[in-house]
């Protein structure tokens, strides 16, 4: 419940709204958070107007109790704005600045509020500051949460994107591995490969590890398991792209892959073609010459 002073203050705020809004927008523009192609002055103004409306209404109903249901619309609105900011490439402090720049305009409004006794005005000033701080933190949290969601989604996308099984020839598949092979992702990749072996009735699968920065025992074990599983399904694996530094490290680690390996994917492909009885020959001159 708002106290009589708070209710009176809310009414004064409502009457003074345009001036507060103008001062707020001015502060936002001065802080340089508008423009730069991320958000137009118009959008910023619309958001500020809407949030100020929610704020004034909430103070009128519930005073400065930020947890009160009356603040629900302000909370949700600010959280939504912060999430959008996170997507638009704002920094956390720029995002928080949206709320914090309201502090001064609010204090100015308190200073010019007529009909509040000085003690009540001082009290309201303190409470308004605390309130702004709380909502400032809320925006940072919402921003942070959104960023984390984005990162998790991107990780998943990368995991899916970078692990295509490609068909090089009838019966020959290749799996170019790129990036860090944590166990979750490796599991998915290896299952994809095994499934593709079934789908294509492949005889040979080339696993290329050129893009894998670290081959430790966990990666090695995943490779070994995949090779063994592929073998049970009637397909042979060739591992390609073992760079010299990786080869040396594997020797020291004591890992033996016991599988045909080739320096490059091209070498592995040549082996695969030979195994399935194909050869690559230069095109006959007649074929390229005209007439």
């Amino acid at each position: 419940m708002a106290s009589p002073d708070q209710a009176r203050f809310a009414a004064l705020l409502a009457a003074d709204r345009d001036r507060i809004l103008a001062a707020w927008i001015g502060a936002l523009k001065a802080a340089g958070t508008v423009g730069q192609g991320r958000i137009t002055a118009m959008e910023m103004e619309t958001q500020a107007r809407e949030m100020l409306g929610h704020l004034v209404a909430a103070i009128g109903e519930a005073g400065f109790d930020a947890k009160a249901p009356a603040y629900g619309r302000l909370r949700d609105g600010l959280a939504e704005i912060s999430r959008t900011r996170a997507m638009q490439g704002f920094s956390p402090s720029e995002t928080a600045a949206f709320v914090f720049s309201l502090k001064r305009p609010l204090h100015e409004a308190i200073a010019r509020a007529e009909g509040l006794d000085p003690a009540a005005a001082a009290e309201i000033g303190v409470e308004a500051s605390v309130l702004v701080d709380q909502f400032g933190l809320l925006t940072v949290e919402a921003y942070q949460k959104r960023r984390e969601e984005v990162i998790i989604r991107q990780q998943r996308e990368i995991a899916e994107l970078s692990t295509p099984v490609v068909k090089l020839w009838d019966g020959v598949l290749a799996l170019p591995l790129i990036g860090t092979l944590d166990s979750e992702r490796t599991q998915v990749v290896m299952e994809n490969l095994l499934q593709s072996i079934v789908d294509h009735s492949a005889e040979i699968a080339i696993i290329d590890i050129t893009g894998v920065p670290t081959v430790d025992t966990l990666v090695a074990q995943h490779l070994l398991k995949t090779v063994a599983a592929a073998r049970l399904m009637g397909a042979d694996c060739i591992i390609s792209g073992i760079r010299p530094q990786i080869a040396q490290t594997m020797v020291h680690l004591g890992v033996e892959l016991n599988v045909v390996s080739k320096a490059t994917l091209a070498d592995a492909f040549a082996v695969a073609l030979r195994r399935i009885g194909r050869t690559v020959v230069p095109a006959r001159p007649a074929a390229s010459a005209q007439g």
């Binding site: 860090t180 166990s183 920065p213 670290t214 430790d216 025992t217 530094q245 490290t249 680690l253 004591g254």
Partner: protein, 136 residues
């Protein structure tokens, strides 16, 4: 021994292992380790970091650049407060595993490092240090 940079990182998830690897690689590149030596110390760190997570229940990695006379190196010290290792000699043997692994992590990390030390006490935890110097 002078330490010119030191960073302590948490190991709580497998993403943390990736971060430790990246940090170790950055420092290794920074002191001018060649590609092979970089790969060795990064791989050794990856092994011990994973053990810290899987067997130690998580812990920390202190990643440092160290100096001795004119040479510089990268040192990583892993600590956990997990169950500890009852028989360290046995755990250090190639092929010994209690977790269905290859059993090559500890012994391999030792071979990949210039310096290696391990202290472990049952019920207290495990501390493992690995280091690699820039030769020449």
């Amino acid at each position: 021994m002078p330490v010119t940079s030191s960073d302590t990182m948490e190991i709580r998830t497998s993403d943390d292992i990736v971060r430790v690897r990246q940090k170790v690689r950055d420092l290794a590149v920074g002191i001018g380790l060649g590609l092979v030596d970089q790969t060795k110390i990064v791989t050794a760190a990856s092994e011990i970091a994973r053990n810290t997570l899987d067997y130690g229940g998580g812990g920390t990695a202190r990643v440092e650049v160290i100096e001795e006379g004119f040479r510089r190196g990268v040192r990583v010290t892993f600590e956990d407060e997990g169950p500890g290792i009852a028989d360290v000699t046995r755990a250090m043997q190639d092929g010994f595993t209690t977790g269905g692994g290859l059993g090559l992590g500890l012994s391999g990390a030792k071979r990949l490092s210039n310096e290696f030390s391990i202290q472990s006490a049952v019920g207290v935890g495990t501390r493992i240090m690995i280091a690699r110097w820039k030769s020449g």
